[in-house]
Symmetry: D2
Subunit: 405 residues, 4 copies
Amino acid sequence: MYTREIELSGHIIDSLIIPKALDLIMDMGGDFNILEFQVGKRKKDISYAKLEVKGDSEELLGEILDELSEIGAVVVEIHEVELKPSPKDKAFPDEFYSTTNHTTYIRFDNRWVHVEDIEMDCAIVVDTLKMSAHCKPMAHIKKGEMVVVGREGIKVIPPERPRGKLGVFEFMSSEASTEKPFKSVINKTAKEIKRIKDKGGKIALVGGPAIVHTGTAPILARMIKEGIIDVLFAGNALATHDIENALYGTSLGVSVNTGETVTRGHRHHIYAINRINQAGSIKEAVKQGILQEGIMYECIKNEVPFVLAGSIRDDGPLPDVITDVLEAQDEMRKYMQEVDMVIMISTMLHSIAVGNILPSKVKSICVDINPSTVTKLSDRGSAQVIGIVTDVGAFLPLLYQELKK
Amino acid sequence: MYTREIELSGHIIDSLIIPKALDLIMDMGGDFNILEFQVGKRKKDISYAKLEVKGDSEELLGEILDELSEIGAVVVEIHEVELKPSPKDKAFPDEFYSTTNHTTYIRFDNRWVHVEDIEMDCAIVVDTLKMSAHCKPMAHIKKGEMVVVGREGIKVIPPERPRGKLGVFEFMSSEASTEKPFKSVINKTAKEIKRIKDKGGKIALVGGPAIVHTGTAPILARMIKEGIIDVLFAGNALATHDIENALYGTSLGVSVNTGETVTRGHRHHIYAINRINQAGSIKEAVKQGILQEGIMYECIKNEVPFVLAGSIRDDGPLPDVITDVLEAQDEMRKYMQEVDMVIMISTMLHSIAVGNILPSKVKSICVDINPSTVTKLSDRGSAQVIGIVTDVGAFLPLLYQELKK
Amino acid sequence: MYTREIELSGHIIDSLIIPKALDLIMDMGGDFNILEFQVGKRKKDISYAKLEVKGDSEELLGEILDELSEIGAVVVEIHEVELKPSPKDKAFPDEFYSTTNHTTYIRFDNRWVHVEDIEMDCAIVVDTLKMSAHCKPMAHIKKGEMVVVGREGIKVIPPERPRGKLGVFEFMSSEASTEKPFKSVINKTAKEIKRIKDKGGKIALVGGPAIVHTGTAPILARMIKEGIIDVLFAGNALATHDIENALYGTSLGVSVNTGETVTRGHRHHIYAINRINQAGSIKEAVKQGILQEGIMYECIKNEVPFVLAGSIRDDGPLPDVITDVLEAQDEMRKYMQEVDMVIMISTMLHSIAVGNILPSKVKSICVDINPSTVTKLSDRGSAQVIGIVTDVGAFLPLLYQELKK
Amino acid sequence: MYTREIELSGHIIDSLIIPKALDLIMDMGGDFNILEFQVGKRKKDISYAKLEVKGDSEELLGEILDELSEIGAVVVEIHEVELKPSPKDKAFPDEFYSTTNHTTYIRFDNRWVHVEDIEMDCAIVVDTLKMSAHCKPMAHIKKGEMVVVGREGIKVIPPERPRGKLGVFEFMSSEASTEKPFKSVINKTAKEIKRIKDKGGKIALVGGPAIVHTGTAPILARMIKEGIIDVLFAGNALATHDIENALYGTSLGVSVNTGETVTRGHRHHIYAINRINQAGSIKEAVKQGILQEGIMYECIKNEVPFVLAGSIRDDGPLPDVITDVLEAQDEMRKYMQEVDMVIMISTMLHSIAVGNILPSKVKSICVDINPSTVTKLSDRGSAQVIGIVTDVGAFLPLLYQELKK
């Protein structure tokens, strides 16, 4: 029998980490003894468990420890991480350690080194001179970079579910239900936004064109103007229909005020793109007085940064759209580690994209009228995202009302 | 060749009746000559067409005329309706004429007699003494009643799509889209309600429990108190959760104010039913001061009639629930011919039930976060219903705000 | 401090019962000591925990014990149940104990008495002479019957999640996902059905009209003929469209073979109902040779019992439909305690109705193309139901193929 | 009054073109006289109408003619198209004519010149030397190219709905219903595929990763091997999960055979990408024997071309993915004018992308379990796409079975 001692600590009862760990060990064919078990009795108390984990073979024990480490277990007798050079550009060495989106440390040179820029499905690259560790996506890897392989010396800290009911992020499960009390969802979201802004925190908004179609572009424009939103992630569609709305009063050819289809309106979006392309950029169009209102206008006027990521269904696109998706990802990454909250509205594509590169510690809500958007986000590993199934045409105005109270 | 002349008149171009008629004739293997064709050129002008319809056999010609009559065609050389006695209680004679939900006349004793209480999938029973005609569902038929059979002597008047864009009922197609400008939908619905109320018209509301779950019961209660809603159709669930909310502040055990699950809350709905059953009825509970607010309270206080129809998924049920579904249908029928507008909110079961017995001339909107509810209503023949795909938790408050402007 | 000792045993780690219990106590403001804790290490081993639960007041302690009992905790020092007479017909006494759908025992006369006919949201009525206990819905209560009140002396045994992966009911979570491997779902469901039939078990099918619309009525008819299905629960719609299909080859007027709309086909369903009403019943129609194939035909021919429950959206209805919903519930209850598995197909109304009266020990799967049907079932307390989001038109044929292998 | 004569011909009754035309004229405030009207009486006969269209101003008349031309009206007295040079790269001149996806001709040098490479929302560029016209997206425009402006001299030929019921494309409306007879949909689709293949036609498949998740990758691989599919459009996800499945037997970490989550399986997709990146390309990985089965393997082996278009939610991506979306669009365009049918399966992003560049004459079906995918395709102008709402895990195997009969 091969054995190893592990420790688990934190809100391991409330966060169901202890039963998950025991389950895991036994499901995988291992065994265990509970060496110590202290239960934190008050909301803020943490619990602690020390287990002896056993396996028939060294390989099995390794696999079990591997899985355990993803839920926060730390091996008591700590080894250093193992490093291997990457064999070529844009490829990791075999057996590379694939990251989670949780806060991560590696054991290197007898210290716990924090992994910078953490995001899921990447590798950890160590700078052995600077003694620093970074999370890197595959596309960024250069031949010869030292990459963490195996599972020794890695400590993962999953987000905990603290006891008690403190905010929107605790009260709602990640399940997307259409039968939740609407007002209390709005109130709790507003409260969380205020709390973050009061602390000087940053809020990112990821938005789809339905914001414009439903007539809520003016609300979002105002939120940008008033500094509630610190960075905007979107695609060609949101920007195009926002500009279409500013120039022609329509979105996808439908009058935003009357809801009626406008004669020749289905050409407005391509006309709008053409006007901006003639000007050279959205910023130029604002300067030349062509664009005088709307979401993109307020971004330019108030120097709120935006990333418009291209997609293969784009018409045009606008000159500000980054048509290379890897470049667009990198541009989004610049902001991702700094934000305190992400609000995702009516865009499955961009929400999953942001979810992919977002650390799990960042609070996120995803607002969509289609419950499957939220389910898919969660299936793809962004388990921390809170889903709100509602009509964006109603959500943003009521959220804004609540914020202004 | 067997021939017959028919006439079509009204907005037969705009309502696509002319091409449907020509299509029908040829699809069924018939032939035609256009004898006259006058096109109304202004919005209010009606068009007129006279066709000679031909078929190889008398049977085929009959079938073609049959279908044509459903879209409003009238045979020029009019025959009287044919009547047969029903063979037993709750059964029609063979070849009975199955009604549409459109305004209908029958040719009897050389006059056009209006068919009272029209609804779809029923038969027309003629009182040969009083010279009157009534639409009757199968369950109401008595042996020996004289029922219209075949298709001679029947004139159907489908609703027309008048030219121009006048209200919510013209501007929205029956397609359920989640990408419509939200505010203009609210505005147009509010305008239509005001128009009806100003004329002294009546508005029915068909509601599901999501009204309570989403925290909008107080809004609906106020609309009832203020006389906006004239009759309420619902089931045990809406009434139970409304009373649960009034007595315990929860809906399905979730606090409507905070959105949090309340300890032992999942028992509140059955406790609420028990309280009313102990009192004897909702009215008694109001009298005894047990029930002091909410939707059902306002119905009792303001003498707004309600029909609570039972369903097999009911807990309890409340003593006011009509557990026999045929009785419940009859109770609903008492109001159906009188109302000018029906608002259906978050209940597929009751919405389809109301759609089944509603004349096509009554304007209806169906509000649901699930697009398939609207699709199913339409598939079941209630083509006149306008679908609004949105969150009821947002719709009612914003509609009420707009109504109070 | 008021204290009480409780015991938890079974697969309390795997089923997450231990952390739920500790969570509960602390969330509600209580405290605890772990007196004993033994962890079962092999798949079949059970775990055991003894806790001392504490509360500031007797009331609080009572509430905590109350909640704990629902997840299976048993108070070590056992009290007898308290009984009160019901104050009137169809009403429970105040503070009645509202049942779960889990296997339940009560402590009476110093013995654990099994509660018969368990279903959720009912009361427990004790026959003090016969020393027996029955679960009774509110509508069945007679004045003076002795009803369990409070929470002393009640033992609830929730279903456990045994370790390991044994069948479809363990491998799928209750989450409804559209991205599951389709073939393995079919295989596991078939295996479970075979296992039950091999043991002489009984399978109920709850079906909606989409079974007929999608052209799968012949498959279900064959499953009934071959004895796979032991009882059918449905509404007027399934039976009507099945008979429409048998008589006219259409369902809702659409040819089931070609998918084309048939001339005058929208009247076929009402004609079908009329034919059966003329005959007097489905059985009579089979006898007279009117009905010669289909789901209902095979039920009659093979003496497979069926319950057709009425709903307010019914046309007709067929003479076999039970129009009183309480009567229909009682008719369904006759079979519910005997079945070993329930397959729910494409009917939210009837699935929730069956879920309401089904013990949690009965394995259930719910097949629907709409994920929200499954979510709603689960929200209403039928947590044991496994959801399969797929097209019923594909599911039944492939399941049948697999069963015949 | 300004007047102009127009002609409409073809199946203008069945395709509802005549009433749409009259409606349009009057809705826009114009007027008309019917100068000639001949109705084709047999299935293959075409109808003909000549109208005199009137407007108060030249501008109004222009707008009316503009709209009429989109539904196929041709001005009797034909003018030449007007051309203007584009002002800069990637921008059209003002008032450029924005294309439909219908077959289009322009009047140039007294002849009707066919517009090559037609797709929606582009401009028509004329090569005045070669006397040819091409449809060009905005991103391809070079400064100085001669672009069609205004609406004179343009003839658009929308697809017609021929009388009678000939194939899947005629029998199903574009409405996405979950209640269609499943078998007849499969049969008709198979028949259409056979018809196209028999004529030597080409079929494109646009696929999402759900094909792999649901376990149907082997079926699609076989269809590629057998020459049924001529070109594959997909993204990084389909290819990655197909390769994950080939290398590890999982898709998104779930075993495709058993449906169970595999230990460490959520890393398989990134390991799969890494293996291919180490090899250099999918083709190299096939050569080196790393990849030995699956969809991508069969594409390489059978030289079936594929386009993998990047998206911002991509992990990795695979080296074969085109990360610039404009490049990816152009790569797709190479095949789009040649294919006879497009089958879109479970991918909204790629389906809309293909819909954007597909001529309306190409028959397309879109298979998705989510009805909103089809609705959105249609809202974005791809009205010719037939929607089938079903489970892809069932659809492809049954379609293949039917094709092999």
